[in-house]
């Protein structure tokens, strides 16, 4: 392997006003992970570098960091796979969280949000008998098996685009956890949990950018879990939220007209609420300027609306 230049995010709250990058250059051993390289730096070049790690086998969730801008568990990332053409690797702490020192992020906010979704089983029925387990068929276990592999490393939260603009959003990890319990046949409080999660900051605030699915080092696929939560909420007729109405109205409009009428959507999603609607004004103006909304045209159906309706019907039947 050739020399690699590691550009490492440094910040010591005791001495630095702002963060900076420090460069370390050396030739890692064949087969080194990024964590091996950080350890090499700490043990041989500069012991002041601070980062978290423990299991070095991708299970404890300590070592999530941004490598070249994307969150990864550095203990399972082979360095040869992330060297950029100019021979550098950039290492930053996870995003969407304050930095405590160098590569160590403050996860308090992460845990507060996790706590908010009631991340534990709330059974309402007793098990079949005192000295026995709840029965759960393998199919039922499979409904949440993948989501249960979450190691709470925060990688998905780091790269979540919704969180970047909306600090209130519970985020992918907490919502995936909420799904994990909502899907568990032993749980008896799914409805209550869902009721809370349709509120602001909850399941409808994900913008479906798919970053979390890409970045999750396990098999959780948080966005998919969020979509499943939405389906659950709709099935349980928890439609009294902006997000749920948005989806219902969206499908309804497309079903009738074969095309989205952007004038009708906000009015029906938000309900007739002058204050909220006024808040939409800048978006509406933008849409007019971009030609997405033509305020003066009467509402119309597109040609071939029957085809759209047929697709619509078939999808409904299929679900």
């Amino acid at each position: 392997m050739a020399d690699i230049r590691f550009q490492v995010h440094r910040f010591n709250p005791e001495t630095d006003e702002k963060p900076y990058y420090q460069e370390y250059q050396f030739t890692p051993l064949e087969g080194s992970t990024v964590l091996d390289c950080l350890n090499y730096i700490k043990w041989h070049l500069d012991d002041t570098l601070a980062y978290r790690m423990s299991c070095r086998s991708a299970i404890c969730g300590s070592c999530a960091m941004r490598v070249n801008g994307h969150a990864k568990l550095v203990c399972q990332t082979q360095v040869k796979n992330v060297v950029r053409p100019d021979g550098t690797v950039r290492i930053d702490p996870v995003g969407n969280m304050p930095v405590l020192k160098d590569l160590i992020a403050d996860m308090h906010g992460f845990w507060t949000k996790m706590q908010a979704v009631k991340p534990y089983l709330m059974p309402t029925q007793p098990p079949p008998s005192a000295n026995q387990e709840y029965l759960q068929l393998p199919e039922a276990f499979r409904l949440f098996e993948e989501e249960a592999t979450c190691i709470m490393c925060g990688a998905c939260v780091s790269d979540c685009t919704s969180l970047e603009s909306d600090k209130q959003f519970l985020g992918p990890a907490a919502l995936a956890k909420a799904y994990r319990f909502s899907a568990d046949t032993r749980d008896g409080r799914r409805h209550e949990r869902l009721e809370e999660l349709i509120e602001r900051g909850g399941m409808w605030d994900c913008v479906r950018c798919n970053e979390c699915v890409q970045t999750c080092p396990k098999t959780v696929a948080p966005m998919e879990a969020i979509l499943k939560l939405r389906q659950m909420a709709l099935k349980e007729r928890l439609t009294d939220s902006i997000g749920a109405r948005h989806v219902t109205v969206f499908t309804d409009i497309v079903g009738r007209r074969g095309i989205l009428d952007e004038r009708e959507l906000p009015v029906r999603s938000l309900g007739f609420n002058p204050v909220k609607l006024l808040g939409m004004a800048p978006v509406a103006l933008q849409s007019v300027l971009k030609g997405k909304i033509r305020p003066l045209e009467p509402p119309h159906k597109v040609k071939g609306v029957e085809d759209v309706q047929r697709i619509h019907r078939e999808m409904e039947d299929g679900s």
Partner: protein, 599 residues
């Protein structure tokens, strides 16, 4: 000053399980150097043992033939798994250095405590009838490993953390706080000195009872499956405070650590039918465990691998490793039951298990020894079981002793659970009748001196170099096979390193997240307890369980020479001035009489 009725150090299975007991009646805090879900328990893969008897009878039926004659087993219990059988397997697996009442308590409480996990929501894999899935595991005569794919530890650790989050008003968690010292005066434990990694402050924690649940000491070895956090802190701190360490020479080497890295490939792999192959492409286990073959217990398999290597039949250019072969296993089975393994193999060594052999070698895995306790987790000071009032230990850092000379797979998550539960109950009861004992004026003196001694040291020794020297010496000279010459050399190295440690230098002098200082403190711990491992091993002139002395080992038959007459006793290692003083303690044997351990 933080004050709680009970303070638990460590948040693995033992620590959190204890907290869930204590919080039912007293104020409790958990102090942990890593966030609870980062604890090493999460890395456990294979399963947790309990005689639930969930597997269909046709898979358990075969077991009756293999009950050894020395075991007192009523006939009617033989047709299916039972607590008695589990109890027996623990004692035999531990080469009879097991305190049989401890093994009994463990086997008896296993089913209830597993059901409790399940009720708390643990994500266990399931059988077609909806019950918790179980599978066979080395040394267990029935398929009694309850599992969650190959991430059982993760499922249980997260389950406990969820329950702690649910009780966040009852359990205070001090995360990334590192315990440096115990405050014991007149044999009463009064509190702890803790270093807050977040701020660099030293805190005194005042309490009626302390439970140590600080995990194992695998990091004293260079090839280990253990996390970086497993530096035996609690063990060293107890030792420095006059508590003896029991059976430290018994270190389990896991036969399937990834070559050079030590990363564990679960025994679940062999349980599911993987083969072990030597450099000549031959399955060799028939020479060492003719009946159980690859499913033999860990110490026997690890020694078999070393013997293949010693006799020149290893794999690779240096002939220094063995292969694990999964190629014949159905992809679906590997996907559903061993998903983590295939992922690890792909990511860490870039191997396609369905086409290639996986290089492996024995790796330090589990610490049988530790802080001696009663069945209730109370820490004891001597063979007469004198107690330190208010001090408890549970989990891998403790030695009760349920595993004796060798622990069977999937029994240690169970031990962490059972001992955590028991110590939690005992500490709760104690705290309900005890008063807070006053703190001495010099409570923080020795911890302050320790930190200052490192921060202000302008010596020339580096933590990384000293640590590497220690780890390599321990693996090479105090590893799977041991002999007096090498052990003596190893002891010399450890003493020399202890000396050089006084000259250790770190550059980081800061307060916030000074992980250089943390690593130095941890090294200090390892240098202290490593000496007890080597001294214990040197003194013990026999082979038993995981302790194999070449002088007492027949390489032809691959059998160790166990000396029940002289050595069927627990080692107690005390700190004595600059060295170690050894004492011994009888083993409690009342049910199964020691017989030869063959598989």
């Amino acid at each position: 000053m933080p004050t709680h009725d009970v303070v638990i150090v460590g948040s693995g299975l033992a620590g959190m399980r204890a907290a869930l007991e204590v919080c039912q009646g007293a104020s409790v805090a958990i102090v942990s150097k890593v966030h609870p879900v980062r604890s090493h328990s999460g890395a456990a893969q294979g399963g947790i043992a309990a005689a639930l008897g969930n597997m269909p009878p046709e898979r358990t039926a075969k077991i009756q033939a293999r009950i050894e004659n020395g075991a007192v087993l009523p006939d009617e219990e033989l047709n299916e798994d039972s607590i008695l059988l589990h109890w027996f397997d623990i004692c035999k697996g531990g080469d009879y250095l097991v305190d049989q009442d401890a093994a009994q308590m463990t086997a008896e409480n296993a089913p209830t405590l597993i059901y409790q996990y399940e009720r708390w929501g643990a994500a266990f894999s399931r059988l077609p009838n909806g019950k918790i899935a179980q599978r066979p595991f080395g040394g267990h005569q029935a398929p009694r490993a309850c599992y969650a794919a190959d991430r059982t530890g993760h499922a249980l650790l997260h389950c406990l953390w969820e329950q702690v989050m649910k009780r966040s008003d009852q359990v205070t968690v001090y995360s990334e706080w590192i315990v440096l010292d115990l405050i014991i005066r007149d044999n009463i434990c009064r509190g702890l000195v803790v270093w807050d990694l977040n701020t660099g402050r030293l805190e005194t924690v005042h309490t009626k009872a302390v439970i140590f649940a600080t995990g194992g000491y695998g990091r004293a070895f260079s090839i280990t499956t253990n996390a970086f956090a497993n530096t035996g802190d609690g063990i060293a701190i107890a030792y420095r405070n006059g508590v003896p360490l029991m059976d430290m020479e018994f270190v389990q080497f896991h036969p399937t650590g990834l070559y050079r890295l030590g990363i564990l490939l679960s025994e679940g792999a062999r349980g599911e039918g993987a083969y072990l192959i030597n450099g000549e492409g031959e399955r060799f286990m028939h020479r060492y465990a003719p009946t159980l073959l690859e499913k033999g217990p860990r110490d026997i398999v690890a020694r078999a691998e070393m013997m293949e290597i010693m006799e020149g039949r290893g794999g690779g250019p240096k002939k220094d490793y063995i292969y694990l072969d999964l190629r014949h296993l159905p992809a679906e089975l590997v996907r559903t039951r061993l998903p983590q393994i295939s992922d690890l193999v792909t990511k860490f060594v870039g191997i396609d298990w369905s086409k290639e052999l996986i290089p492996i070698q024995p790796a330090a895995h589990y610490s049988m020894g530790g802080i001696p306790t009663t069945l209730q987790g109370e820490v004891i000071l001597d063979a007469q079981e004198t107690l330190v009032k208010g001090l408890y230990a549970a989990g891998e850092c403790s030695c009760v002793s349920v595993h004796g000379a060798n622990r069977l797979g999937v029994n240690s998550l169970l031990e962490a659970t059972v001992t955590g539960w028991a110590a939690g109950r005992a500490a709760l009861a104690h705290s309900q009748q005890a008063e807070l004992a006053p703190l001495p004026a010099d409570a923080t003196a020795s911890a302050e001196a320790e930190v200052k001694g490192i921060l202000e040291n302008e010596g020339t020794e580096s933590v990384a170099d000293l640590r590497k020297t220690l780890q390599e010496a321990m693996t090479e000279k105090c590893g799977v096979f041991r002999d007096a010459d090498h052990l003596k050399q190893c002891l010399e190295t450890v003493k020399d390193l202890q000396h050089r440690f006084h000259n250790v230098h770190i550059r980081d002098k800061g307060q916030v997240f000074n992980t250089a200082l943390q690593e130095a403190i941890e090294l200090g711990h390892m240098l202290d307890f490593a000496e007890t491992i080597v001294e214990g091993a040197l003194a013990r002139q026999e082979s038993r369980g995981a302790h194999a002395r070449l002088e007492y080992f027949d390489l032809k038959t691959a059998a160790g020479v166990r000396d029940d007459e002289n050595w069927l006793k627990h080692t107690l290692a005390y700190r004595d001035g600059d060295g170690v003083r050894l004492d011994y303690k009888p083993v409690r044997i009342f049910k199964f009489k020691p017989i030869a351990r063959k598989y």
